[in-house]
Amino acid sequence: GESVGLHLPTLSVQEGDNSIINCAYSNSASDYFIWYKQESGKGPQFIIDIRSNMDKRQGQRVTVLLNKTVKHLSLQIAATQPGDSAVYFCAENQNFNKFYFGSGTKLNVKP
C-alpha cells in the first residue's frame, strides 16, 4: 500500500474568522508563485497568483503577500467559510516551465 505520509501542519479557525497560511519557498530566483487549494480526493485548484515584481495581490476574499527578502509567502482568507476547509499549497515557478510545491497546510474551519 501507500507509504505513511507526513502529518501536515493544521490550522483550525472558527467560521467567519480570518485565516493566514504561511509558506517558505526555496529559490530566490523564483519569479512567479501560486496558491492552490486541494480538497480530499481532488486535484489542486488555482486560488491566486503573484509575480515577483509585486508584494501584494488581492482577489475575492483572498490576499497573497510576498516577502522576497525572507522568501516567504502568505495567503490570507477573509471571513473563512466551511467550504474553505482543504489543504493549501504554495507553488513556486523556478524556471519558465516548472512549478515546485511547498509542503502544504491543512485548514480546518469549525462551524
Binding site: 501507500e2 505520509g5 501560486i34 489542486p44 507553488a91 516551465n97 510545491f101 509542503s103
Partner: protein, 112 residues
Amino acid sequence: DAMVIQNPRYQVTQFGKPVTLSCSQTLNHNVMYWYQQKSSQAPKLLFHYYDKDFNNEADTPDNFQSRRPNTSFCFLDIRSPGLGDAAMYLCATRHRGFDGYTFGSGTRLTVV
C-alpha cells in the same frame, strides 16, 4: 466541461505488473506535466513535456516513463510498480508558461 481528464480515477495493479495512466486535455495547452502525490505530501514533479520535448526531473526513477503522442494526450507508464509507487498521480497542463496549471482530478494508484 472537463478540460484535463485523467483515466481511470482509481487503478489497482499488481506488484511488478506494468501499468499506464492516461491524461487528455481539451485546452490545446502545449505543456503537460505529471506529478506524484503521496498521502499528506505535496505534489512532486516527475517530468513534463514542452510540446514534444521531454524533460525529466533528475530524481525521477527510471521505472517511470512518459509518452505524448499528440498535443491532447499524455501517458504515464510505470514499468514495474512497487508498493512505494502507490500514490495519487496528477496531470496538469499549462499554456506556453503563462499563468498557472490546470490540473486533472488525478488517478489514485494502489499496488497489491
